[in-house]
């Protein structure tokens, strides 16, 4: 192969590694100290890009020159740093002690809020920033032209690494940050005000995210998709490097930059897949990444369903509920039936996640993977093999179960935040496959023409079919939760060491639970595909996973029936509010944050507490 081409390819790999490192470095420092995986870090990066793309051209009008350009970049990063301080003071400070699931959800709430705010503030169109003065002409490398700005970026990574190293090694702030990364309580016992230390850390982390974003403006236009694409990559970098490790992040960014640069040559469309596969391989070999340590895994507080006495007259309630479900078509119109069908599907999806999180303490952030696998499995069977719905649904379920068994085999070795990230990675790999393997999956357009068999088509029959399948599966899962198997999972959730000491094979139980939950989610996905007549990659996306988590949270994570209520509440709210306002994501984000802060027991949990206090 042409050596000049290889050199240029390696250089562009280095420059994307630099950008990635600058951003991921902030994420890993913030995690190290606060133990919060800040989903909003990508949003800060996006704000940095928008701010710089808006601010720098105005500054250049006042005084054109390299000094102005770089001052503008720096000013944008400082502005983002201050936004990070606001986020810390208003939100993060209140959730340092919360379970990791709530932390992830709350910061994802910030992502949603920022998405709508960015459009409100900067407008819906992409903004292309100015090119850097003095760096407009490309340089020649082995006879090929290479943008000189990229060379500056290549240098920026090591410079930031050096400065961060000096800050962490040679200043009192840095020494305290490193100490707090290891043992926060001890730092407090030595008289250090953690609140200030954490606010300072958030400023540093947000500053780096903003810098990472601002440096992009001459290369890519600021756009509203930047937040989730960078956060996925930054997660991979921090996880592969070892959570909390700055040198680890640097090394991981270098590896990933080169992998992306040369992965294009091998899999032209699937750089995402390569990146997430790297993460899977690294975590399989080193469960804490390159330089991570076992004690820095985050998420030591499991929350889950609590044992309680069975409600009196529960079979009566159950029969009444089933009767109401069965009689619903008598009173509802086609639209309501469609809504009810979707609520039932999502209730099943959320309930399958409850088996993992509430019962098993396995905080999966990628449960959409199996929902999507079930949907795609069914749709692909219809499209490529022309099978009927009766065969396609079990096929989808089987594909989801198989996928869950495979992913689960990796996942059950991990714990805490690494587990959440690994499941997220698995879902992102599948998302990338569905998105990029256009010939088979239809890419962005997905697959259409996935219709139920004649006997089940029409709103009423399909609603009834959904209701029957959902009720049967939920009852089956409930039976599993109440069986000794469910108790073993709960034992492992509450104390791994003790559960192991009484002879439970924790990994095997968790793997089994993961597969069952994946199969149930796959069934929900299959039913969903036939209800809409189509599938598309968004079914596998982060927001579908978060939807399920939000339903759990809304309904109440400590109750068995919470997810069912949560699915109804979230879906109902969405159908009701979304047509009324363009700021749906802002509202949803704020609601998620509010739920985490003031309502963490969810609807069912709160009602139960109230009932319990009354009687």
């Amino acid at each position: 192969m042409d050596p000049a081409f290889l050199a240029v390819q390696a250089l562009s790999g280095l420059s994307s590694a630099s950008s990635l490192f600058i951003t991921a470095c902030g994420l890993t420092i913030v995690f190290g100290v606060t133990r919060i995986v800040n989903f909003a870090h990508g949003s800060l990066y996006m704000i940095g890009a928008y701010t710089a793309a808006t601010l720098v051209p105005r500054l250049l009008e006042l005084s054109f020159g390299p000094v102005t350009f770089w001052a503008g970049i720096l000013a944008s990063a400082i502005i983002v740093g201050l936004i990070g301080v606001i986020i810390e003071v208003l939100l993060l400070r209140r959730i340092y002690g919360a379970p990791e699931l709530f932390q992830l959800l709350a910061t994802f709430g910030v992502v949603l809020v920022v998405q709508d705010l960015v459009v409100q503030v900067f407008g819906p169109q992409d903004i292309l920033g100015p090119r850097a003065p003095g760096l407009r002409a490309p340089v020649e490398i082995l006879g090929r032209r290479f943008p000189s700005y990229e060379l500056v970026l290549i240098a920026a990574g090591p410079i930031v690494l050096g400065l961060v190293w000096l800050l962490l090694r040679k200043t009192r702030f840095g020494v305290l940050v490193r100490a707090a990364t290891q043992d926060r309580d001890m730092v407090a016992s030595l008289g250090v005000n953690q609140a200030l230390l954490f606010t300072g850390t958030l400023f540093l982390g947000a500053f780096l995210a903003g810098l990472g974003g601002a440096l992009q403006i001459p290369r890519v236009s600021a756009n509203t998709g930047m937040d989730l694409s960078i956060i996925a990559e930054a997660f991979v970098v921090t996880v592969v490097g070892g959570m909390g490790s700055v040198p680890g992040a640097f090394l991981a960014a270098l590896v990933i930059g080169q992998l992306q640069a040369f992965g294009i040559l091998i899999f032209p469309k699937s750089t995402l897949v390569v990146v997430f596969l790297l993460m899977a391989v690294v975590l399989a070999i080193r469960p804490y990444g390159f330089f991570g340590r076992a004690e820095i895994i985050g998420g030591t507080h499991a929350v889950g369903i609590a044992s309680r006495r069975p409600l009196a007259g529960r079979s009566f309630i159950l029969i009444t509920l089933m009767a109401i479900l069965a009689a619903f078509p008598l009173v509802a119109d086609a639209y309501l039936l469609k809504v009810a069908t979707e609520i039932l599907i999502f209730a099943l999806f959320a309930f399958s996640l409850q088996l993992l999180i509430g019962v098993g303490g396995i905080v999966s952030f990628g449960h959409a993977a199996f929902f999507g696998l079930g949907a795609y499995g069914a749709a692909l069977a219809v499209k490529w093999y022309g099978v009927s719905m009766e065969a396609a649904l079990p096929l989808g379920l089987a594909l989801a179960a198989l996928g869950a068994a495979l992913v689960g085999a990796f996942v059950v070795r991990l714990s805490g935040i690494y587990l959440a990230m690994m499941t997220l990675a698995a879902a992102q790999i599948l998302y990338a496959v569905a998105f990029q393997w256009v010939e088979v999956t239809g890419g962005d357009n997905g697959i259409v023409g996935v219709w139920p068999s004649p006997w089940a088509s029409g709103p009423i029959p399909y609603y009834l079919l959904t209701a029957v399948l959902t009720v049967i599966t939920v009852l089956l899962l409930k039976r599993i939760i109440d069986a000794p198997f469910g108790y073993s999972l709960r034992a492992a959730r509450d104390s791994e060491a003790r559960a192991e000491a009484i002879g439970l094979k924790i990994r095997q139980h968790r793997w089994f639970a993961f597969t069952i939950a994946g199969a149930a989610a796959g069934l929900a996905g299959g039913i969903y595909a036939f209800s809409r007549g189509s599938v598309d990659p968004s079914l596998l996306g982060i927001s579908t996973s978060v939807d399920a988590l939000t339903m759990l949270l809304l309904g109440g994570i400590q109750t068995v029936m919470g997810p069912l209520v949560g699915a109804a509440a979230l879906h109902g709210l969405r159908d009701w509010i979304m047509p009324l306002t363009p700021l749906w994501r802002l509202l949803l984000g704020l609601s998620i944050i509010a739920m985490v802060l003031i309502f963490p027991r969810g609807l069912v949990g709160t009602v139960r507490d109230w009932w319990g206090a009354r009687t």
């Binding site: 043992d183 008289g191 250090v192 005000n193």
Partner: protein
């Protein structure tokens, strides 16, 4: 009698629903060494943690230098001049000896000569030879010295010292006793939690015997030495 430096009354603590401390009331005078002694699990460590505000389910009335500790966060308690050396030492293993000392540094009160790394290295000569070494590469005894030195860097008026002799070599235990005497000579009061009776008896002015979360005896060390029945019953020595 002077106003006590540290006064604690009705200290209770809970782990879940189980109460582990029952209305402990005691005082620590400026410049004295008092030992909390008792069997394993009696509640000594919990008592020290609760004073520092590190046990979430605890109720206590406490004053330090006349300030109510009330619901103060841990760092503010430490800033009043109350140092804490935990039982498991909790050295920052990624940090060097000098960096560990830096984490504890706080300005000294007026009229006191502040502790500096140099002074501490004279107190613990072993540490002087390993200034650049990381905490993870130190022995248990060295870590214990570093933990005490780190807390002294905050120039405290009193130190809560949890099991300083646990799991370290006898020769280092001897050095530890000397260090505590040296601290006392500098006017630092020490509230010591100890299972090693001989060690506690050798350096303490007063003692407080805790059994199952309750105080069984409070008085001078000499008194406790004399009371063989009580010792045999509560401490097994």
């Amino acid at each position: 009698m002077n106003a006590p430096l540290l006064e604690v009354w009705d200290l209770c603590a809970f782990y879940g629903r189980a109460q582990v401390l029952f209305n402990l009331t005691f005082r620590l005078q400026a410049g004295e060494v008092m030992a909390l002694v008792g069997r394993n699990g009696a509640g000594k460590t919990t008592a020290l943690k609760a004073i520092m505000g590190l046990v979430s389910a605890s109720a206590r009335q406490a004053t330090f230098k006349g300030h109510s500790l009330g619901k103060l966060p841990t760092y503010k308690i430490a800033r009043l001049g109350l140092g804490y050396v935990p039982e498991d030492r909790r050295i920052f293993t990624d940090l060097t000896v000098e960096e560990n000392l830096e984490t504890g540094r706080r300005p000294a009160g007026s009229g006191r000569s502040p502790w500096t790394p140099e002074r501490l290295f004279r107190l613990f000569p072993n540490l002087a030879e390993m200034r650049g070494r990381r905490g993870s590469q130190m022995s248990g005894g060295e870590q214990q010295m570093l933990a005490i030195a780190r807390t002294l860097m905050g120039n405290p008026d009193a130190i809560l010292l949890d099991e300083p002799s646990e799991g370290i070599a006898p020769v280092i235990v001897q050095m530890m006793a000397e260090a505590i005497r040296a601290m006392k000579a500098e006017g630092v009061a020490v509230l010591l939690s100890e299972q090693n009776w001989a060690f506690a008896a050798g350096i303490s002015d007063r003692a407080c015997v805790i059994e199952r979360g309750e105080i069984r005896f409070q008085g001078s060390m000499a008194e406790l030495m004399a009371n063989e029945t009580l010792r045999a019953e509560t401490l097994g020595v």
